[in-house]
Amino acid sequence: MTAIDFEGETIRLGENEPLLDGLLRAGFDIANGCRSGVCQSCLLQSDSEKLVNCQQGLTEAQKRLGYFLACQCQPWEPMAVNRVDGEQLKINAKVVDKRWLNPSVLGVTLEAALDYQPGQYVTLLGRPSGSGDFLARCYSIANASDGSGTLEFHIRHYADGAFSNWLATEVEPGDCLQVQGPMGTCIYSAASEQPLLLLAAGTGLAPVLGVIKEALSQGHKGEMQLLWAARSPHDFYLLEELSLLQAAAQLNIKLVYQEDFADCNTFAIDSVQADIYNYVHQHFPSLQGHKIYICGAESFTSKLRKQCFLAGAAIQEIAVDTFTPFA
C-alpha cells in the first residue's frame, strides 16, 4: 500500500496498481486514453525524484518539470502528485518596481517567494478600484531564478485593457498583487552544445530573455541566436541590457522590424528591416539539431513552429509560448 498525496488528498494504491487506476478508483476525474503510455492523456506532475519508467515520449522540458504518465507510474514510495498546470495556491506579491521600458511596455518587478523555471508564466491577480472582481492575466517571467525572490514582467499596455491600464495608472511600489503558478514548458532544456534559435515578437522577449539568462548561468556552450521581431523599431526596449548580455557571451542578437524606418544607427544592437518569416527562412534554411524557442502572439508562433519544423527541427525540440492577446 503506497500512500499518494493527490492535490492534498491521500489515496492508497494496491500492490502493482498503476497510479492512474488508483486515482480513478478513488473517484478523481483524470483524462485517460490508451493506458499504455502512448496517448499522453493522463499527464500529471510530481516533484518526486522517483519517477521511473513513466516519462517515455515526453519532451526534455516536460521531464525537467516532473511531468509523467499516470498510466505507467507504479510508485513504491509515498509521493505527492498534482495535475499539470492545475489550480495552484495563490501567493501574495509586493510591487517593488514599476517603470516604462518603452512607451507601451511596462516593466513590473514583484517580490514573491515562488519556485519557477525561467521561461514559465504565472497568473497575476489584482482588483482594480471600482471593480468588484479580481482580474487575472497571464504573464511570462522575464528574469532568471537567481534566488533574489523577485519576478520581472514585461507588460504590454493597452489603454482599454482593464488589467494593464490599472497596472499602468494606479498600482505603485508597495502595493500587493497575487501570483498563481508557475505554468508552461517553455524552459531552458537544451543540451549544453546545442545551437539555440530564439524567436520573439514584441513582449515575447520576456520568456526568451529568461531562457537566455538561464542558459548562460548553466554555462551553455552552443551558439545562441536571438531574433526579436517587432512592427516598428520603436517597439524594442531593454536594448542596453541586451547589448551587455551579447557582449558577455556567445549570444548573437538581431532586431527585425517590419516598417520602413530611416535611422536605426542609434541602436546598440544589429537591426534589419525585414519580414521575420522570410528572414528566418533565408538565414536558417536548416534547423536540424537546433533547439528552438518561439514566443509571441498566435499567428507568429504557429507560423514559425511549422516553418522551423519543415526546416528540419524536431517537434520535440521546438518550445512555444503563445500569448493570448489583450489585457
Partner: protein, 121 residues
C-alpha cells in the same frame, strides 16, 4: 514478435514520426487539414497512430478513429495520400518491404472508420 518490436519499438516510431509528419504537412492534397491543429497534440497523435500501425501498444479504437475524423469529410484520395506518405517514410528509413506491406494492411483495416463509411457487409 510484432513488427513494432522487430523494427525497434518506440525508437523506430520516434525516428519515423517527424519525417512522416513533415511529408504530410508538405503534401498539398492534405496539408490544409492540418492548418488549424495544434502541432504538439498532433505530433502525439501521429506517434500513437504509427505505434498502432507498427503493431505496438494499441491506443486507437475504431470508434476513436471514426469520431476523430468524421468532421473532416475525408475522401479516399486523402486516405491514400496519407498512406503514400507513410510508405515513403518507411522506405526512407529502409524498413523491409514485407513489413511495409503488413503496416499498410493495418492502415487499411481502419480505412472505413477514418472515412466514416458503412462497414462492408
Amino acid at each position: 514478435m510484432s513488427i513494432y518490436e522487430k523494427i525497434g519499438g518506440e525508437a523506430a516510431v520516434n525516428a519515423a514520426v517527424d519525417i512522416f509528419y513533415r511529408k504530410v504537412l508538405m503534401d498539398e492534397r492534405i496539408s490544409e487539414f492540418f492548418d488549424t491543429v495544434d502541432m504538439e497534440n498532433q505530433h502525439v497523435k501521429q506517434k500513437a497512430f504509427l505505434t498502432m500501425a507498427f503493431g505496438g501498444p494499441n491506443s486507437y479504437t475504431g470508434k476513436d478513429m471514426r469520431e476523430g475524423h468524421k468532421h473532416l469529410n475525408l475522401k479516399e484520395e486523402h486516405f491514400n495520400a496519407v498512406a503514400e506518405n507513410l510508405v515513403a517514410t518507411l522506405k526512407e528509413l529502409e524498413v523491409p518491404q514485407e513489413y511495409i506491406d503488413d503496416i499498410i494492411a493495418v492502415c487499411l483495416s481502419v480505412k472505413d472508420d477514418v472515412l466514416n463509411l458503412e462497414p462492408a457487409a
